[in-house]
Every structure is written in structure tokens, then in C-alpha cells.
């Protein structure tokens, strides 16, 4: 047992170096201020957070990000659910093929796909928010479909037969059996769509043009262009808290759906 534990040392080291240490640094940066001339003064301050929440431009970016992620998720469910349902009702071999076709674009680099969309969307005069939506929904849709499809496919078919037998027609069977039993799939789909959508910055940057700023872009700007790591870290921390909070909510929903 002891020698087995020793085998985990490299991983612990790895995690400490590349996960824990950067987090501590973000924490450190977020609560301190640049002393000028690239010197770090270890003095606890909330200035970065005050600056973020007092400036309406920043809070507006945060709200826009949340809104975009939310709408993206809703659209993914609206388009993805029927798609998953149709796929789950296909013969087994076709199902495998469809799932393969769905996962295929996921293997292509997101940057490439987004550039392709930029090429396509350039020919249309759409406002930048709609362009960002299209890009985001396209990119995240497969995750949603696969999660819902898995939930529906693993459902016992006898349950549908039982529902017909008990007097439910197709629509009622869907509402009372299929839909509630696919809720866990929807929830894990939300986790996979909403969370990355909140923090995405490549899609809004490439499709929305420079004038379209989401929280991801904001962080990028402060770290790369402005070089204000303290403020960038503070924004990152705010976003991390939002993500943790939404994970907690979905967990809770998921558990309710399962025990009910």
C-alpha cells in the first residue's frame, strides 16, 4: 500500500505545479496590487473587486456573458432534444452512425470551425450578437445531443409499452415518462454547454468583431494586452465563483430529478 502510494508522487507534484500553484497565484494577484515597476507588494486589498463591480462597463460585460451563455444553452436544448429523440428511435446501427456524425466536428479544432463560420457569416449583414449565437450553438450543440441521447437510449423500452398499456397515448407517454427520465441527460448537457459558454472568448472575438466583448475577452485583454494581472485575476476569480455556483445548482437539480 505504501509503495503504491509512492507511485502517486509524480501526479501530486504535477497537480501542485500546474493546478494548485497557478490558483494560489491568481488568488494572490486578485487580492494584491501592482507596486509599479513590476514589483509585487503583498498587501491585502479588495480594490480589484471594487473596481470591477463599481464600473458599469465591466458588470455589463458579465451580464452579457451570462445572458449569451443562457440563451445558447436554451437553444441547444430546443434543437438538441428533438434531435436526440429522433436518433434514439432509429434502428441501432443508424444510431451509431448518427452519433459518429455528430461527434465528428468535435474533433476539429474550435478555432478552425470558428474561422469557417466567420467566412460564411461575413456574407450576411447580421448583428454581431446573432453571429456569436450561431457560432456558439453550432459549437456546443453536439455535447447537448449526446448527453440527452444517452439518457433516452438507456431508458427501458418496456416503460413506454407500459405507459400505452395504462392508457397514455404517444404525447402523454412522452410527457410523463420519456421527458422526466431524460432530465438527467438535459442537466449534464447544461453543465457541458453553459459553463464553457460563459467563459468562451474565441467565438465572440472572431465572430463578434472587436466591439463585442464578453468576460472571457475581458480577462484575455487584461492579461495579454494591458498586462494588469491583478485585475485579470480578480475577474477570473469572479467567474470561477459563478461557475462553481452554477455547478452546485445543476448538481442539486440532478439529484432531485433522480430521487423523485
Amino acid at each position: 500500500m505504501k509503495s503504491f502510494f509512492r507511485m502517486t508522487y509524480p501526479y501530486i507534484l504535477w497537480i501542485a505545479l500546474f493546478v494548485v500553484a497557478p490558483m494560489i497565484m491568481i488568488l494572490l494577484y486578485a487580492f494584491t496590487k501592482d507596486g509599479g515597476n513590476r514589483t509585487l507588494i503583498f498587501r491585502f486589498t479588495l480594490d480589484n473587486f471594487i473596481r470591477f463591480f463599481q464600473d458599469p462597463t465591466f458588470t455589463k460585460v458579465l451580464l452579457t456573458s451570462l445572458r449569451i451563455a443562457l440563451i445558447t444553452t436554451v437553444f441547444c436544448i430546443l434543437i438538441g432534444y428533438p434531435a436526440a429523440l429522433i436518433i434514439a428511435n432509429l434502428p441501432e446501427r443508424l444510431q451509431t452512425l448518427m452519433v459518429l456524425l455528430l461527434t465528428l466536428p468535435m474533433w476539429i479544432n474550435m478555432l478552425l470551425k470558428t474561422y469557417a463560420w466567420r467566412g460564411i457569416l461575413n456574407d450576411f449583414t447580421l448583428n454581431s450578437e446573432i453571429k456569436v449565437f450561431i457560432g456558439m450553438v453550432y459549437d456546443f450543440l453536439p455535447y447537448m445531443i449526446i448527453q440527452i441521447h444517452t439518457a433516452i437510449a438507456k431508458m427501458d423500452r418496456d416503460l413506454l409499452t407500459a405507459a400505452y398499456d395504462l392508457g397514455a397515448n404517444r404525447w402523454k407517454t412522452f410527457l410523463k415518462v420519456t421527458l422526466p427520465l431524460s432530465v438527467p441527460g438535459i442537466i449534464s448537457g447544461i453543465t457541458l454547454v453553459f459553463l464553457p459558454a460563459v467563459s468562451s472568448f474565441v467565438i465572440p472575438k472572431l465572430l463578434g468583431g472587436g466591439d463585442y466583448v464578453l468576460i472571457g475577452n475581458l480577462i484575455e485583454t487584461f492579461f495579454i494586452s494591458t498586462g494588469d494581472w491583478n485585475f485579470g485575476s480578480a475577474i477570473s476569480l469572479v467567474m470561477a465563483l459563478i461557475i462553481i455556483a452554477s455547478m452546485w445548482v445543476t448538481r442539486k437539480l440532478d439529484r432531485n430529478a433522480q430521487t423523485e
Binding site: T161, A163, L181
Partner: protein
């Protein structure tokens, strides 16, 4: 009783295979009907057609005087208890049972009344809030029954509902189901492959085989007067043999004439004869109608199940000569050599070219030097002729070490049993005590050593030799001559008795004319 359901000439084909071959069946009100048959006989298909989950290719289903061929399942007054219960995992016990009532949009107080009544019918009071996935199999079963019955259907379909339960629980649920059926007073159609389940619960049993109905009747009728050998085998234990009617009240089987009380068959007609194991009484040997030897005894709890052999099969007895091998040594070079005497069948001698190697292997001839290394036998000479007699054969090595043994050429001795169409043959043989002691499966080895074979006289197909009789102890065999009898399967009777017997006992079997059931001989497509 009023006729409730009528199946008219139902045909169903799956992938080119006819699963139902024109089934006609009437089911009445308040009946507990069991569709009984092995898996693949079409019983579940028939049930699913009635439930509306499958559509027949031909024929009509009449329900309460109306054709229901085009009525979808959710509009049929029929509910089903599924094989694996199919309870909704996202609902508690109460909501599962209330499902059908909520679809009908009944008021909450009415639903509560009905569900609670159902919970007490299936003995699950107080279980309403429980999670169905955490219930035991028996409890899930009860919920499934309650969920179906709460809709007050005219017919309840049960598709092997007790299959997943253990024996004790299954027995309990059988009584429970019967009680529920009597209490609610509706028709139950129950599908099972378990004959005991069918006998216990049903008012009427429908025995199915390969898409057809073999017999319809009460459990007593099915058990006591099976229509044919198939039904007899499926229901209960049975001894079945072929018989021939000598007159209207006399049947011949097992080479004897028996009086019988079945007048349905004419003189000269071939029939199947059924005698139930529990109808045969064990009496002292010589008494009763037959005498036989107990071959095996199995304890079954209340009774013993004996296999009694009343006629030994076709047999052949041979002599086994046990001899210690004599090694000869050559004083010139220290080499040693050994070989056994052996028998050869004249037929084989005429039909087959024997090589030197064949003789070496039959005689088990070997030679070895002072350091125990094998030496090849290079010289074989003999004076064997194709005529019965005693000859000699000499095996030798390059360095003039020699041994001479006897060869007995004998007429082949077949035993031909024309009445039972069986031939059997075996040869005397020589063997050393060591070879017998080293044998792991003595009966099988004896068959090999004696070249014992049995065959069908008509088509030459091989017949199993099931019996090897000998009276020596393989572990302590000494030189001498022993008799070994090889025999094919004789006539055996399965008997159920409460008295104790040991294998090898001789017993008499007794049964009367009333115990001899005659059945129509059926020819089955295979």
C-alpha cells in the same frame, strides 16, 4: 359464463418464421387461463397481440363481441403486468399505481381512494411513498399488479410475471395471484413455461407447442388425460412408450398384453402409452406386473424417484484374461522384451490388411535395454492364417532378442437382437493387472479393450453401450479370467415411492388398467 375473448385463426410470422400457425381460442369471463409452453412456442406473441402491441398477419381478435384489430393498446380495456415489471423509476409507489388514473384525469380524492384500496389488495399498505427501485422483486411485482388492476380492466395479462423471483417467493405469489383474481373477479391470462405454476393457479390451461395449441382443458384434465405424448411430457413426470392395440380393451407394450380402460382406439392402432411415476407401486420381486432392478435412487424430499430397469438391453459377455507380462531377457546383451497374447476377429483379418505395426500395438509388444531405453522392434514373423485357430507371432530386435506369443483367431460373435433391432459385439482380451489399476475410467477402458460396439441393425447407426457389468475390484485384480457384460439401454420405468430402496435391489412393479393412459400418436415436424 360469457365469452369475452375469441381468437380466430391467428397467424403471425417473424422473419419468415411462423410463430403462430392459426390459433383458435375462446376465453370466458372471470377465468384464470394459463398459456403454457416452452420458450418460442408463441404464447407471449399471442398475449402481445391481445394487448395490442403486435399486429397479427391473419385472423381476428374479438373482444366482448367487437373486433379490436384496429384498436390501439391505450384504448383497450386490457392491462398488462410485464415480465420485468416496467415500473416507472421516476415515480414512487403511489404515483406508479396512480398513473392510469391520472391519464384519465380523475380527481385527486378519487385517485387516493382507489390507490389505497389497491395497496391493501396487494398487501402494500403504507408503501405509497417508497421509491420503487428500492423495493424487493416481490414488492415490485405487487406494485405492477396494483398499477394494472387500478384501471379496472376486464382482462389482466400477465407475461411470466414470477420468472425473476426465487422459489419460495414464487410459491407465495402464486397463491397471492389466485386470491387477487378471485377477489377482483376478472379474467387473468397468464403466460408461463412452468407447468407447476399452471397446475396450481389455472381454471383452464392452454398447452402450446411450436405456434399451435396442443390441448385445452382444466388442470386435472390436462394431467390425467393428456392429448398426446407432448402434453404428457410437458405436464408432470411420465413414462411414455409405444403400444399397439390388440383389441379395444387390450394394449400391447413391453412385449406384454395389458388390459386398459380407454375405449377410444381401434384394434391394430398404434398409440402412445403413458404411465405416471406416482401410479406405479413397488411390490416384492415376482409380484406385480413386472420385475426389475433399481438403477438409481434420487431423494426428492417427500418421495424417492427410482429408475427401475425391467428389461436389460441387448448384451454380450466376454472373457477378460488378466496375466502378468513375462519379460524375456537376452543374456548376450542385457536387452529385455515383452508382449501379450491377443485375439483377432476373423472378419477383421479378411477385410483389413494388418501391418507389423498393427500387431505390435495389439500385442503391446516392447523392448528396452539395460538403461531402460526403448529399442525398436524390427522383426515380426507369424504363421497366422485366415482360419480360426491358435497361431504364434514372434517379435524381435536387431540384436536377436525375441519373444513369441499366441494369437487366437476367432469367428466374430455378434449378438443380434432382432426384436429391438440392435446388434452388439465384443472380443475376449488379455490385459495386465497394472493396466487395470492405472485406468481412470474403468467402464470406458473395458469398452476399448474389448472393442465393444453396438449398432442399429436397420441403418447401422451406432447405439450407446450404457451398461458395463463386471465383478472384480479394479484396484486389487489378480491373474485369472473374468466375465464382462456389455449392454445397451434396456427398458426403464421412473417410479415415485416413499419407501426406501437401494440401487441394485430387485423389485416388482404394479399398476392397474386404470393407470394406463393411451394417447393418440402424433407426428411432429422437426
Amino acid at each position: 359464463m360469457r365469452k369475452l375473448i375469441e381468437f380466430r385463426n391467428i397467424v403471425k410470422t417473424f422473419d419468415g418464421q411462423q410463430v403462430l400457425k392459426g390459433v383458435n381460442l375462446n376465453i370466458f369471463e372471470n377465468e384464470f387461463v394459463t398459456l403454457l409452453g416452452p420458450s418460442g412456442c408463441g404464447k407471449t406473441t399471442l398475449l402481445r397481440i391481445l394487448g395490442g402491441f403486435l399486429e397479427q398477419d391473419e385472423g381476428t381478435v374479438i373482444f366482448d363481441g367487437q373486433c379490436i384489430d384496429n384498436v390501439p393498446p391505450y384504448k383497450r380495456e386490457i392491462n398488462t403486468v410485464f415480465q420485468r415489471y416496467a415500473l416507472f423509476p421516476h415515480m414512487n409507489v403511489y404515483e406508479n399505481i396512480a398513473f392510469g388514473l391520472r391519464i384519465k384525469k380523475l380527481g385527486n380524492d378519487i385517485i387516493r381512494q382507489k390507490v389505497n384500496r389497491m395497496l391493501s389488495l396487494v398487501n402494500l399498505e403504507g408503501y405509497g411513498k417508497r421509491n420503487v427501485t428500492r423495493l424487493s422483486g416481490g414488492q415490485q411485482q405487487r406494485v405492477a399488479i396494483a398499477r394494472a388492476l387500478v384501471n379496472e380492466p376486464n382482462v389482466l395479462l400477465l407475461d411470466e410475471p414470477l420468472g425473476a423471483l426465487d422459489l419460495k417467493l414464487r410459491k407465495e405469489m402464486q397463491r397471492e395471484l389466485k386470491r387477487i383474481q378471485q377477489e377482483v373477479g376478472i379474467t387473468f391470462i397468464y403466460v408461463t413455461h412452468d407447468q407447476e405454476e399452471a397446475l396450481t393457479m389455472s381454471d383452464k390451461i392452454v398447452v402450446m407447442n411450436a405456434g399451435k395449441i396442443e390441448q385445452i382443458g382444466t388442470p386435472l384434465e390436462i394431467y390425467n388425460e393428456p392429448a398426446n405424448a407432448y402434453v404428457a411430457r410437458f405436464i408432470g413426470e411420465s413414462n411414455i412408450t409405444t403400444g399397439l392395440m390388440k383389441s379395444e380393451t387390450q394394449v400391447r407394450f413391453d412385449d406384454r398384453d395389458f388390459e386398459c380402460q380407454d375405449y377410444r382406439f381401434k384394434q391394430g392402432e398404434a398409440v402412445d402409452v403413458l404411465i405416471r411415476p406416482e401410479d406405479i407401486a413397488i411390490v416384492p420381486p415376482g409380484k406385480g406386473v413386472m420385475t426389475g432392478e433399481v438403477k438409481s435412487v434420487v431423494f426428492k424430499g417427500v418421495h424417492y424417484e427410482l429408475m427401475v430397469e425391467t428389461r436389460i438391453g441387448t448384451s454380450k459377455t466376454v472373457k477378460m484374461n488378466v496375466v502378468t507380462s513375462h519379460d524375456l531377457s537376452n543374456p548376450d546383451n542385457g536387452e529385455k522384451i515383452s508382449a501379450n497374447d491377443f485375439y483377432v476377429d476373423l472378419d477383421d483379418l479378411e477385410n483389413k490388411e494388418f501391418t507389423d505395426l498393427d500387431f505390435i500395438s495389439i500385442a503391446n509388444a516392447q523392448a528396452w535395454d539395460e538403461e531402460n531405453r526403448d529399442i525398436s522392434l524390427t522383426r515380426v514373423s507369424h504363421n497366422i492364417e485366415k482360419q480360426p485357430g491358435v497361431y504364434s507371432i514372434t517379435f524381435g530386435t536387431d540384436r536377436k532378442t525375441e519373444i513369441t506369443v499366441k494369437v487366437y483367431v476367432v469367428h466374430p460373435e455378434y449378438v443380434e437382437d432382432a426384436r429391438h433391432n440392435i446388434g452388439i459385439s465384443a472380443l475376449d482380451f488379455f490385459i495386465t493387472p497394472e493396466e487395470i489399476q492405472e485406468s481412470m475410467a474403468i467402464s470406458t477402458d473395458l469398452k476399448t479393450w474389448a472393442s465393444a460396439e453396438a449398432w442399429n441393425l436397420q441403418d447401422d447407426s451406432p447405439v450407446d453401450i450404457t451398461d458395463v457389468k463386471f465383478d472384480f475390484d479394479p484396484a486389487q485384480v489378480t491373474e485369472g479370467s473374468y466375465e464382462i457384460t456389455f449392454a445397451t439401454q434396456g427398458r426403464e420405468y421412473k417410479v415415485e415411492t416413499t419407501s426406501r430402496h437401494e440401487a441394485g435391489d430387485r423389485v416388482g412393479l404394479a399398476f392397474g388398467p386404470e393407470n394406463i393412459h393411451l394417447m393418440r400418436k402424433e407426428v411432429y415436424e422437426t
